[in-house]
Symmetry: C2
Subunit: 424 residues, 2 copies
């Protein structure tokens, strides 16, 4: 049984396709999400369907795999049973790849009022909120209130925060400016609040400075050492005591492993991730593997980052180890091969870092576009993402700027798809 249809789960199912095993994939959504482009849905650049792929479509040609849509609530390691809201599933081997959830670092007000940016429902909520605020600002004669509505605070200067800030600023400057004739761009603020001293700490200092420069040129206001203390419905307060009136708080400050890991009663690290053996096995339970954001593993003295390539490579190693165990051979330890990291900061500006080499500016951006197009799972989504990007690039237009939400009339109770978050 594989839990989670993210990068790890899908890689594991694929790696097991020719193995003499029956695979059950469990996820609470019916789609696999290409999460690196999630912020582009929030910025009204892409349709949700361009970055989501029905899991059942991915499994069609994998004969030994089936999908069961369910939300996993508990793992009984002794009985080897997975409990879900829909029923129980027995397993011989278990591969946990449930990813991560938004981390509010214990900030209750943020958990209640800030908008996370982790799943598709979150991205649509962010899009709806920001577009609605612009519409509402149109009705306001009060300058202070209008400025508040037109202020978006993005909390966290990691890749998601930086990429979203760049893309949002372009949505405002290139698209919404033409939608709202007479709007004073000086009243719009895109704030990027970073608690530390620098953005994108995973990148080399030169690339960080390039990112900072690109964001500032796009009109993003960057604040360092800006730790958010309290989020209120119409404002937020920093640890320094400074208050700012805001129309939306988008929380990209961090992620943590889901409760499921801690619920196993096993050692977890600060982010709630499960300490695993170098073979990705759960200590004391060789039939249980944990990969991706849920797994805490060190390599060369450093915690492996929460990245899609780590999850995919771990999942493939875990799959091979399951096959090895079945064949009576010993499992092998995991070794991460780092292909580099990338980030895009709106049009014509991106970063790429491969080992000691770094690219920035237009070349970094072109590389980012190319690599991400290649990484998208299906031909159809590759085509639709490419069309979306081309449209935006050529016409400075984002036709997906809809304020839209599925009606909730008489929804069945048993499945929960509201909010990408498990914790609030």
């Amino acid at each position: 049984v594989v839990v989670g249809a993210g990068f790890g789960g899908i890689a594991a199912v694929r790696a097991l396709r020719r193995a003499p095993v029956e695979v059950i994939l469990v996820d609470r959504q019916n789609y696999h999400l290409f999460s690196p482009l999630l912020y582009q849905v929030a910025a009204a650049l892409l349709d949700p369907s361009a970055i989501a792929q029905p899991v059942r479509a991915l499994l069609r040609r994998i004969r030994n795999a089936r999908m069961w849509m369910a939300e996993v609530t508990h793992v009984d390691l002794e009985r080897k049973v997975l409990s879900t809201r829909q029923g129980e599933i027995e397993y011989d081997y278990l591969l946990l790849a449930a990813g991560s959830v938004t981390n509010y670092f214990g900030n209750q007000s943020a958990a209640e009022l800030a908008l996370p940016l982790k799943g598709l429902p979150d991205a649509l909520a962010v899009r709806n909120r920001i577009l609605t605020n612009f519409e509402q600002a149109r009705w306001t004669d009060d300058t202070v209130e209008r400025r508040r509505l037109l202020t978006v605070a993005i909390v966290g200067g990691g890749p998601t925060g930086v990429e979203f800030a760049g893309s949002l600023s372009e949505l405002v400057r290139n698209v919404l400016r033409k939608d709202f004739p007479g709007m004073d761009l000086g009243e719009v603020r895109v704030l990027l609040l970073e608690a530390g001293d620098s953005l994108l700490t995973a990148f080399a200092p030169r690339l960080r400075r390039a990112a900072e420069g690109a964001l500032r040129r796009k009109g993003v206001e960057i604040r360092y050492r800006a730790l958010v203390q309290q989020v209120a419905p119409e404002s937020l307060e920093l640890a320094s005591g400074e208050r700012m009136a805001v129309g939306a708080v988008v929380w990209t400050a961090g992620v943590r492993a889901p409760q499921l890991g801690a619920g196993l009663g096993l050692p977890v690290d600060r982010a709630g991730a499960v300490q695993v053996e170098p073979t990705l096995q759960l200590p004391g339970h060789p039939e249980v593997f944990v990969v991706g954001d849920m797994a805490a593993l060190e390599q060369d003295g450093r915690r492996l980052p929460m990245l899609a390539p780590v999850a995919q490579q771990e999942a493939r190693r875990a799959a091979r180890n399951i096959v090895a165990l079945e064949g009576g051979r010993p499992p092998q330890p995991f070794r991460y091969f780092d292909k580099g990291i990338m980030a895009a900061i709106g049009r014509n500006s991106g970063l790429a870092q491969v080992g000691p080499f770094g690219l920035s500016g237009f070349i970094g951006w072109a590389g980012w576009l190319f690599v991400h197009l290649l990484l998208i799972v299906s031909l159809r989504n590759r085509l639709f993402v490419f069309l979306g990007w081309t449209w935006d690039y050529l016409f400075l237009d984002r036709p997906v700027r809809l304020i839209l939400r599925a009606s909730q009339k008489a929804r069945p109770e048993k499945f929960h798809h509201d909010g990408g978050d498990v914790e609030h």
Copy 2:
């Protein structure tokens, strides 16, 4: 002031683009919906953004028009003021084109539990519900319960009901069958419940029979004289006393004008539409025009149908009449020019009726495709609809089959976008 950004409202704004007037367009959504293809969103064939166009994008090149997003609550005819949830707007001329809402014909249980198919939020709710039911059926060992989950009852044999039934049946037979290996197609039922004796009463008898045949070949179960009496959470009851267990009830039985019309305190017809002069003016209020589904107007002894071309032609006439009044000339009566009606029943089967001529089968379908592609407002949406159709036709695949809903965390209160319905 123009109320409603549907076919009528947009046609009016365009017709007034060179007139010496200032136009304010009011709508509670920020997009114009190409509603004839709405059922294809519910059937997971098209993305919402393929049939929705941001109103502000449509108004960009119309210099004398502005958009104010708001939900209209009341019209004060004496003071010439429009009240909305967001504030008041004064008008010199008012053009009401607010369309229609789902008509439950006083059936309270249907209003509470049936899923309408009128706006995009409705279509997404239908899509989510049906896909969720299929996932849930996967978990059920009880045959009776599984059959219930796999039964969809579509109420109403008009164009929406017929077109949705055809498209839904194809979703099940061509796409979901491959998604759910081992699923017994015999357990899936698509029911079309029509209270009268025939489907598509606007079409000639020969075409109606063609539609019926096409639906039956696609596996749709048609029931005539099946008046729905009561809708319960897991079943429905017909006037005949027959009960059927259902997983979803999709209500396409009729539409009625919104409360707004009746709220004016003026004569309305059975469907709540406002009786207007032949010039589309409100009796006693020559500065107020009513067009589209909201207006009740007879021509040659018959009530004009609630169709997009009627709304568009009426809106253009109303716009010209406003210009005439401003120039001191008398307004002209409206005359509808009927270009014909069409319907599509899934792949390779469609109907078209132009005056005495009728087409059915493949040629009717090809004509339907062609005409609808031409009618779509923007180049981008035309391209995306065409791509969606092509994908479905060639690969028998609908990649938009996502169970997805925007998160509702901390949503602002003032705007309401839940459900296309005003009444529940």
